[in-house]
Point group: C2
Amino acid sequence: MIFGWDSIRREVLRRIGQREWPPGMLIPTEQDLATEFGVARATVNRALRELALAGVLERKRRAGTRVALLPVRKATLDIPVIRQEVEARGHAHSFRLLTHEAREAPVPVTSRLGLPEGALLLWIETLHLADGQPFAFETRWLNPAILPDPGPDFTQISVNEWLVAHVSYTLGDISFCAARASAREAKVLGVTLGEALFITERSTWAGPAPITLVRLAHGPGYRMQALV
Amino acid sequence: MIFGWDSIRREVLRRIGQREWPPGMLIPTEQDLATEFGVARATVNRALRELALAGVLERKRRAGTRVALLPVRKATLDIPVIRQEVEARGHAHSFRLLTHEAREAPVPVTSRLGLPEGALLLWIETLHLADGQPFAFETRWLNPAILPDPGPDFTQISVNEWLVAHVSYTLGDISFCAARASAREAKVLGVTLGEALFITERSTWAGPAPITLVRLAHGPGYRMQALV
DNA sequence: GAGTGGTCTAGACCACGGA
DNA sequence: CCGTGGTCTAGACCACTCG
């Protein structure tokens, strides 16, 4: 029975799935569907809006709503704090601060963060462990301007956690790739030289001010799962 | 000025970012905010609902709305058809069907798809090219039960595209990892043996019926980007 | 110009779950 | 219990864009 916007969403999905509404077809207007289902137009709108967001429908004013021809499926990734990620797998998280020093950032870094050439940033290397075994090798450029004086003790709290707790929510971008382990990465992660690593790279910003550029290298066996 | 639910969303984000509302704080109720902003409660609800979905707020009936302590950031991935992905990069897409035969699926495959042991599935290998250069090596188990008789000509249309055009929208799961190139992968993709590949694995379903299990191997240089 | 989706309003009922 | 968020309604105005 039709009860609530979600059941309307599912009914529309069913009609699309059964090809009652094939790809490319113009489906009835919100008002028509509202009448058919005996609900208010706002309820239909909520259902169709979610489906459009998911890439199943394409909506245009005046033109109406169509079943997407090539549905660009959307998947959602959770980007947890590493400690949570490790603990969610049932392991104990710990970390070792390997390097923590001011360095002149190379041009690719400064340009990506929109800083002047030769800017002095903090270079921080952290090894994250799960039950004492290497889990991920984090290398990070951090803008010192955002730190209080005196700075936090990053041997006690990981940079990652300090940032989410003390720096405002930000936008940024995230990308993933595969790369072979360098000599240093192999040594730190305890894998063979040239092993395939899963790399996550993030840059984060507080409004216009760059905060950090971080690279996470995960050893073999790491899988990132997404919900579709 | 406050105008529309999105400006309310941004104003709430601003207050969180400026630490007027620090992590863990209970923020005012929808009704209070509606009064403050001079809008209806439904408008505030829309704004706060989006922020809760994004992991910035945590909402509970009766308990109210809190700023998330450890914000699980959500990133959204687009999962396009490969042809679109190649063309979006400004290249011409083509593909070569390398293998197409019925095979007894190994146990890991049948169990993951919920099929009986020893089920006969189609085993399909496709190489996707961008401007004639190897782009991705697709290996796929396909449930023949979903194909019409006679089956489509997969030398003319890629399996990927035939499926999105002819099989109903489905749910599934998707995961990513890194792996070293096997001898066959190295040969097909034209990379050196043991090179780091970026692997995408998807399973898709039509309701209870399994459709396909696909593995995409991308050569070095591939980056997957997500929006945060 | 007119039809469509996008949004807002003011009010209502309800489920949940903390006090 | 009872306040909170989740949802729905009936109606309205508006922005966009197609014909």
